[in-house]
Symmetry: C2
Subunit: 343 residues, 2 copies
């Protein structure tokens, strides 16, 4: 900018005025400045601008588990759309469920003075460390609450962690719906594939599964529950084991999109006909050999709602923390309506 000022024969401040389109610059002066800018290829330095203004960086941080997972990339898209409307860019990072990586991302983002943070918290670290880092930066949590949460609480205990806005899916209700759908089709031996027990959504969906059984007087068989599967391969192995049981399940509830895919692969490989309802919708679910019945929701909408809450906080909204619970809906496609086979 100094160079532009020199080239145009004006002061720094005048260049600043022109760049920012302020009033009270004579048209011919502005013209001289503009041509100097074009000649020198000047671009305003936003860092200095933010520093001086004491102000906003017009960016927000987004921490998810893995951007390559469609669930998270849809969230990212929703977030981006709202951020864009607010004139902000999104700096995103994948934590891979690694608390150290998550803390490092949070620290980097806060040191860069993002205007706010959107976090899908990893669940294996100490929430207080995280809380300490984000102190002072508006933050909204997605998909999982920031605190430890009880083993299967709908309202997790947040005593140790300051409360934040949180946007969740109705995991318990969705899982219950899925399992009740299978029960309604005559199944009694229903398997349950869920993610790592540390993960809030896994616990909640497991709870929904148990509630549905209990509410319908079906005894829960622990051998049919496989927790701790975090990827397609793990889910596939678990499903293969389940199908090899002496008294195998006639139906499965799969706790997320990756686990559903794993289960489908294993079922396909075994050549068995097993009913399946999955949590999370996914592309092409309707075109599979047996179209897949799922508990669907809108990840992009979760991203949008969280970004809106964050936007409000950034603007100074001081209302008590909100907790939004997004609905799910059952999409009936075929796999969930397979009747129990006579084992």
């Amino acid at each position: 900018m100094r160079d532009v000022a020199a080239a145009a024969g004006v002061s720094l401040k005048t260049v600043s005025r022109v760049v920012n389109g302020e009033d009270f610059v004579r048209p011919d002066t502005a013209e001289r400045v503009h041509s100097a800018i074009a000649r020198l290829g000047f671009q305003r330095n936003d860092l200095a601008r933010t520093l001086r203004g004491g102000g906003r960086t017009r960016s927000i941080g987004l921490i998810i588990e893995d951007v390559a997972n469609p669930f998270y990339s849809q969230i990212a898209r929703g977030v981006e759309d709202v951020a864009r409307a607010g004139g902000r860019l999104v700096i995103s990072g994948s934590s891979d469920e690694d608390p150290a990586r998550e803390l490092l991302l949070i620290r980097s983002l806060c040191e860069r003075r993002v205007d706010g943070l959107l976090i899908v918290p990893s669940e294996t670290g100490d929430p207080r460390l995280r809380a300490e880092l984000i102190a002072g930066t508006p933050a909204v949590f997605l998909d999982r609450p920031p605190g430890p949460g009880g083993p299967a609480d709908t309202e997790p205990r947040n005593d140790t962690v300051p409360p934040n806005d949180t946007v969740l899916i109705d995991n318990v209700g969705g899982a219950r719906t899925a399992v009740e759908h299978l029960l309604a089709h005559g199944h009694r031996r229903i398997a349950c594939l869920v993610d790592l027990p540390e993960i809030f959504t896994a616990r909640q969906r497991h709870q929904g599964y148990l509630e549905a059984l209990a509410a319908n007087g079906v005894p829960a068989d622990p051998t049919l529950v496989r927790t701790g599967r975090h990827d397609v391969r793990g889910a596939g192995h678990a499903m293969t084991e389940l199908l090899a049981l002496p008294d195998p399940p006639t139906a499965v509830f799969a706790g997320n999109n990756l686990l559903t895919v794993g289960a489908l692969r294993a079922i396909g490989a075994a050549g068995t006909r097993v009913a399946l309802v999955g949590f999370d919708d996914f592309e092409l679910a309707d075109l599979l050999a047996t179209p897949v019945t799922v508990v669907a929701h809108e990840p992009a909408d979760m991203g949008r709602q969280a970004a809106h809450l964050l936007e409000a906080r950034i603007r100074g909204d001081a209302r008590p923390p909100a907790r939004i619970l997004l609905p799910t809906r059952l999409i009936v496609r075929g796999s969930g309506e397979i009747p129990p086979s006579q084992g």
Copy 2:
């Protein structure tokens, strides 16, 4: 930092030394500073740090078409992994193939002084405007070259635009392989679904289709080629039209993941048996009613390679621009091996 210095009873510079782990600070002084930092919750301001250092922001910009498209989110993941290794964060934005949006993103990112840019260029804007904006910032292009490119050139003309590193897929070769596979299975009436003709990859894949036909002495029938389809729905309509022709195709080559899905939907709805080979692999392609034969490649690898090139440029590499062509491979799954029906 000023407050920390005051609280610890030392100078600004000493706090700076402690924060940056420099030598020549007495342990007890460092301890006083650390406790003041903890007490006040101080976090270093990275903006000021970068400004003063005249240095790197340790961030790179990534401009893709749509992060919600798995093709691009896999690229994003590859980019992120390499950026992370280089200690950088990724600021990403979706251009939605809108040149105005793309320019705005580029401008924002450059003004934020990202260390470099990774761009999947939109093709409907003026490449010179883009070139002007990125002047001075290292940039690498992904999936498409920055210049206009000839209507079907393998090596596009870049006369008007300064050359940059570019990482492309072997679109012509991949498309050729796909179509030759169909020809080898006896098909002569092979339809071709491709994206907007402005888009480089669409032109190249179209060209590969034509080359395969020509090389095998099969006359090209223009009524079997549908260009300008940019989403699932558009591809579905086109496919439905093709199937309704008096002399319908017995096979289809679908030019990308979205078009493949659209074609599959239309074929499923029509209940016809038509051979299909798609460009881009996708999750569950193997589990569909008829598993889908595809021309596969590694989007994450494209992201990684581009990010590596960018990293080198940021470090000052001044070699002439590289052009990397990533290989494709045909994955045979069933849909491409359906024989021609007796129409």
